[in-house]
Amino acid sequence: MTFGDLTYEAFAFGFFTILTLGGALGVVANRNLVRGAVWLIVSLFGVAGYFVLLSAPFLAAVQVLVYIGAIGILFTFAVMLTRSMTNLNERYNQQWWIAAVTSIALFGMLVLLVILPVFGEQETAVSDVVATTADLGVALVSGDAYVLPFEVASLLLTAAMIGAIVIAREEE
């Protein structure tokens, strides 16, 4: 489906890019941290959109669920619990300009090293047939594939949960 040269997908991609990068800039530049958390959510929502474009609906849904439903809330909570800092006079430390230069250099390096080699190639995927969510599910629990990392991940989550509780609870 095209309207002139602009495909729906390209349009969607542009929209999600604006969300993602705009949201990211919002996170980095915002003075107000609750706003920052909202920007983060916007940005991550854009990333979820990318996943949809890349035919990974499961990841998109998990992205929304985990980031927006859980991590976003968590950040908002943290910001509110440590409220006195929501309006800092100085957003950035002294090294912000070196950091800016470094980040731009990092971006340039990524473009140079990762993107230039594939530029112009891979206009389309090698196949339109894509593994389904069911395949992912099988792979995650299959003994030939990722069952061990999967279990380790669950262990990690348990440990993180317990650790977070222990660290954050008030001393009695």
């Binding site: 990211a24 980095v28 100085e90 992912l136 990722y146």
Partner: protein
């Protein structure tokens, strides 16, 4: 279809912005948020390469799923630490937390 390099460029941009946030923000929560951005940039790359090059192999998606796990764990523990530090020092400015120097 949107070509691969566009996804990669967007991810690189997201990564660089996140890196800038990590390197320059003074607030620990903001730093953690920026770290989340960087992790997501990685995820975009993983999924993009998966889609374009090995769409029948589950490694890309599986790794992205594990990144979710790591991100969730990181956020939980990181924020817990921040809250704990805040309780002790009434501040979440990372410049103030420099007991490790010298």
């Amino acid at each position: 279809m949107v070509p691969l390099w566009m996804f990669l460029t967007a991810a690189a941009g997201l990564f660089a912005i996140g890196a800038y946030g990590v390197l320059s923000r003074r607030n620990a929560v903001a730093i953690l948020m920026s770290v989340e951005l960087m992790l997501n940039a990685v995820n975009i790359n993983l999924v993009a390469f998966w889609r374009f090059q090995t769409p029948m192999d589950m490694s890309g998606q599986a790794f992205a799923a594990f990144v979710f796990v790591v991100a969730a764990a990181e956020a939980a523990v990181g924020l817990a630490i921040i809250i704990s530090v805040y309780r002790g020092r009434r501040s979440v400015t990372v410049d103030d937390v420099d007991l490790l120097r010298w």
